[in-house]
């Protein structure tokens, strides 16, 4: 009896898994077939790369890829510097007012940047950063979440190492750089994976702040390319979609374990 239940359960689990990736499978199928073959599910139809050719010619994808790449790089670089400094201050230094400031930072966890689009847009324009990649990335650099994460990582570093480095004559920043940063490497890796995949996929804010092909990231480019007004068919949209998700998807499939670990490490507070 219990074996039947168990088999039934395994079947349901596998069926659900197939259902779950079916949108991706259908897109894959459509991208490599002509539109009429794709929607008729003509299983013997010839495979073709035409959709990719049409999609590639339809928008400055190389530029979009470059923009997204620059965006995730500067966001990550900014986050590393700012959250390391602030996280260290919260974890290892004692000074008056620290707790109040820390609560203020925690509050930002719930003030989503997405919600403040109107005023952040005004701020970015005021700073002269409208339609720049820096303007897209800047609101995310001082991430409260990252500061919290780094604080936790630095708190777990044994104080003996700190004392030893101090006796050796290391300055405070030297200790941070030589002792804390190397020991927090797994946290940095985890944070990097989460940050890159978040900002690779971000849409609403870049949509608002960018206004030209020179700054637009992939997600915004894809939404313009796939808009019904542009009149491209489903096979070409599928091809473009696969193109834009390919780098992250392939990276995920290769480094799956690290990805999942990263999401777990950064998610469990």
């Amino acid at each position: 009896m219990s074996r039947i239940v168990r088999n039934a359960e395994a079947t349901v689990a596998i069926v659900l898994a197939v259902v779950w990736i079916s949108p991706l499978l259908f897109a894959f199928w459509a991208a490599f077939h002509s539109t009429s073959d794709a929607i008729n599910f003509n299983l013997l139809a010839p495979w073709t790369l035409d959709n990719f050719r049409i999609a590639w010619a339809g928008a400055p994808w190389l530029r979009y890829f470059l923009n997204t790449f620059i965006l995730v790089t500067i966001v990550l670089a900014g986050q590393f510097v700012l959250t390391t400094l602030a996280g260290f201050a919260f974890a290892q230094l004692r000074f008056p007012g620290k707790d109040v400031v820390f609560i203020l930072v925690l509050m930002q966890l719930f003030i989503l940047p997405e919600v403040l689009i109107v005023e952040n847009y005004a701020m970015v324009s005021r700073l002269g950063l409208f339609d720049t990649i820096l303007g897209v990335g800047m609101p995310y650099m001082a991430s409260a979440f990252g500061i919290f994460l780094m604080r936790q990582a630095f708190k777990s570093v044994p104080i003996e190492l700190h004392e030893a480095a101090k006796i050796e004559g290391c300055s405070l920043l030297g200790i941070l750089w030589r002792v804390y940063v190397p020991l927090a490497r797994p946290t940095y890796l985890a944070y990097a994976l989460v940050s890159v995949s978040t900002h690779w996929n971000n849409f609403l804010w870049p949509l608002i702040v960018t206004n030209s092909a020179d700054t637009r990231p992939l997600t915004v480019g894809l939404s313009i390319f796939g808009a019904p007004e542009s009149g491209v068919n489903i096979s070409v949209i599928s091809a473009a979609t696969l193109m834009t998700v390919a780098p992250l998807l392939i990276a995920f499939l290769v480094f799956q374990r690290q990805f999942v670990q990263a999401f777990l490490r950064t998610g469990i507070k």
Partner: protein, 297 residues
């Protein structure tokens, strides 16, 4: 000696504030100041070239409460939250229990569940477009096999929001699954053996032992899911644009539309303040409910 301690203390204070300074500046520019400015802007009228903006007090809020679209959008968002939060948590739990049990092709199953998490919402929307397109889409073709009529899933007010909800659940469930997976792996094996010896069925074991132990994780996921029900709106831009007749419009999308399509910044500000209030409530749930529970352990 006392002097040395004093100097050390002052040094720490100076270093502390210096280290916080860069992050503090950016947080002020892009979180604290905008929050206050939003609240302030919600109290003034829209300034035009001829008429400068003037203080209105709560009039923008009153206008918002008289706007039927606002209530439609609030209702939509409540339904969106009321469905996506429990359903994606339920599916995530089932996925985690399966991905943690001894089933064939476990690696494939886990990967399949998690994959939507790494896709951009915009790409996900494009993938689902292929399912929903009337006549040609996968759903209609499957329906056609059973002799069902073609349905314009995204174009009908009765189904548009549900189509949006399904995409959100699809995107979220695999993400929440991994938190459950992590929690499941911390449950000691002895408990299962003890349950076996006592002759408890697997169902009893799951219901009486596993689910209570997963409670803190569930609350943590719930807070995340509630935040997501405000935040996850990217697919609206591709699938429905809030239509037809606002039937699938959600609050954040409406804020975007108010501010950047209708250029009505004060109304957008008033709505933003209301969302921030809701997020405050979610934050207090997190602090008072969840933190207490984890301390309790």
């Amino acid at each position: 000696m006392a002097k040395g301690i004093n100097i050390e203390r002052r040094r720490q204070a100076i270093y502390g504030w210096l280290l916080l300074f860069p992050a503090g500046v950016l947080l002020s520019l892009f979180a604290f100041y905008p929050t206050i400015a939003t609240f302030w802007a919600s109290l003034f009228s829209r300034g035009t070239r001829r008429r400068p903006s003037e203080f209105l007090g709560t009039e923008n809020y009153a206008a918002l409460f008289n706007d039927p679209t606002f209530w439609t959008v609030v209702q939509n968002n409540l339904l969106y939250a009321a469905v996506t939060v429990p359903v994606s948590i339920g599916i995530a739990l089932a996925m985690a229990l399966w991905a943690n049990s001894k089933i064939p092709a476990r690696g494939f199953v886990r990967t399949a569940y998690f994959t939507p998490t790494v896709l951009p919402m915009i790409a996900a929307a494009n993938l689902w477009l292929f399912f929903y397109t009337p006549g040609l889409g996968v759903l209609d073709q499957i329906g056609g096999l059973f002799g069902l009529e073609s349905v314009n899933w995204l174009g009908r007010p009765e189904t548009a929001l549900w189509a949006i909800i399904i995409v959100t659940i699809w995107k979220e469930a695999g993400f929440f699954m991994i938190f459950y997976l992590a929690a499941l792996q911390t449950i000691p094996e002895d408990l299962r053996e003890a349950a076996d010896i006592e002759g408890a069925s697997r169902w009893t074991y799951t219901r009486r032992i596993v689910l209570p132990l997963l409670m803190p994780t569930t609350l943590f996921i719930m807070v995340n899911a509630m935040i997501n029900s405000v935040k996850l709106i990217d697919h609206l831009f591709i699938l429905t644009k809030g239509g037809p007749n606002d039937a699938s419009k959600l609050i954040l999308y409406y804020i975007w539309e108010m501010a950047f399509a209708f250029f009505d910044a004060p109304s957008a500000a008033a709505m933003t303040v209301l969302i921030l209030l809701v997020l405050c409530i979610v934050a207090s749930i997190q602090f008072f409910l969840i933190d207490r529970r984890t301390h309790y352990q």
